[in-house]
């Protein structure tokens, strides 16, 4: 790819600040590799507690949140933000491989989560969902 192509793409797409909260390092590594190649900036937190600290420190355009994590899981992150009445201030996309029912997913959205993506995911779909959610 030539340099002119790259700069054209940069103009088309806004660079996003993305927070990834997931305990699986292979997943976070793949996501950061992909998203940085797409010119976004990624911050990684490997568990819910750490993720919550990052959320409280810095604003992110969009947050990918895994649900099943040891000790402090994604549900706890959502609950904590809910209790502080700040859940709706953040654009959270739940990103999970758990066997979760549509009802449970709908409930999360009702509570203030922006959207959800089920693992494994087509990376193009993931990318467009991140951009769409960030621009909402």
């Amino acid at each position: 790819m030539t340099d002119t192509n790259k700069s054209n793409q940069k103009e088309e797409m806004k660079s996003l600040k993305i927070l990834i909260i997931d305990d699986n390092e292979q997943i976070t590594k793949m996501l950061t590799t992909f998203l940085e190649l797409k010119d976004h900036k990624c911050t990684v937190a490997n568990d819910g507690k750490e993720g919550l600290d990052v959320i409280k420190e810095n604003r992110h355009d969009v947050i990918l949140l895994d649900l099943a994590m040891p000790e402090f899981d994604g549900y706890s992150v959502i609950k904590d933000l809910e209790e502080n009445n700040t859940l709706k201030d953040h654009k959270i996309i739940v990103f999970t491989a758990s066997t979760i029912t549509q009802e449970e997913l709908d409930d999360l959205v009702k509570r203030g989560v922006m959207s959800y993506i089920l693992k494994p995911v087509d990376i193009d779909l993931l990318h467009s969902k991140l951009i769409d959610t960030a621009s909402l």
Partner: protein, 371 residues
Amino acid sequence: MLPIKQTLFIVSGVSSFIIFYMGIVNFLTSVDESTGMILLIFSVFVATGTLLGTVHISTSITKPIQKLAKNMSEFSKTNKISNKNTIKTNVKEIFDLNKNFEVMGEKVEKTIKVQKEYVQKLKDMDRKKVEFSSMVSHELKTPLVPILGYVQMLQKEELLGKLNEGQKDAVDEIYASTIKLEKLIGDILTTQKLDLGKLVFDEENIDVSELLHGLIKEFELIGIEKKIEITANFNEDIQIFSDRDRINQVFSNLIKNAIDYVSPNTGCVTIGMKNDSNHVEFFVEDNGLGISDENKKELFKKFYQVDTSSKRKKGGSGLGLAICKGIVEGLGGKIWVESEENVKTTFFFKIPKKPLKIKTSDRLDKKIQNK
């Protein structure tokens, strides 16, 4: 039916009357007045005695029997022997009857308790199975995330660099297998849920013609690519109230199967529906190889494949039709196949236009009972 009490009363009443009557006759006909008087008084005593005796006997028999009858009817309702109405009796037969009833009752009580424990155990086992398969599916899906991600990144050459032809083919094969693996994991989980009656069905208004046209559109490209004609054949537009995604899933599985079994260029796949008063009958027809009678019976079983060698090449898991059957039955309908070898095969599935009110838990209970 004649109760014991009344019968005894009638018998004793009649006999007392006869005794009393004979006393009077004796009194009137006897020569000696005092002898007649004695006989009369005696007959009055005997008659009264008979009556009182009857009352006593009949109560001592009927009271405990009535109590026992009450206990039995209570037992049939509660399956528990109540200690409230203990029966006291000096009549040996009734005592034995009651004793036997109590022994039988205790046994029934015990059996029911054991049965309940088994049902609970089966339910626990089912719950554990669901938990286990959910966990396995989570653990299998997680590593698929980076696999799929990196493969897709490699396929997009602008991200990680250009590939030569051999590398491109290799990456495409990895991608195809990854997608198959993902689908297989989903199928296994769906099968398990269907088995345990844990699959939840939605209820929504479905425009049938929209659904069928949507399917035709979905398979249009594959049809063109494989030179197979895929058409819809129906002339009515109806609304049903059911689970759109699940019906789509059944159709997709059947259409994919049909596409696999027809030959390119001459292959035809037709989908459609027939309207019935309470049901709608969908069908997927193809002009492929057909299915032998022997295979028809086994077709809907899990992991059954008509021709193992050829089907494996096409990548079926052997779960597709089992899932179709499970879904259609879950929706309150039935699925079947009709086929003429080397002419055509038609899969039918008939579902109610409005869902039957079966709760998932009821289905599970039924399943346990069937076991």
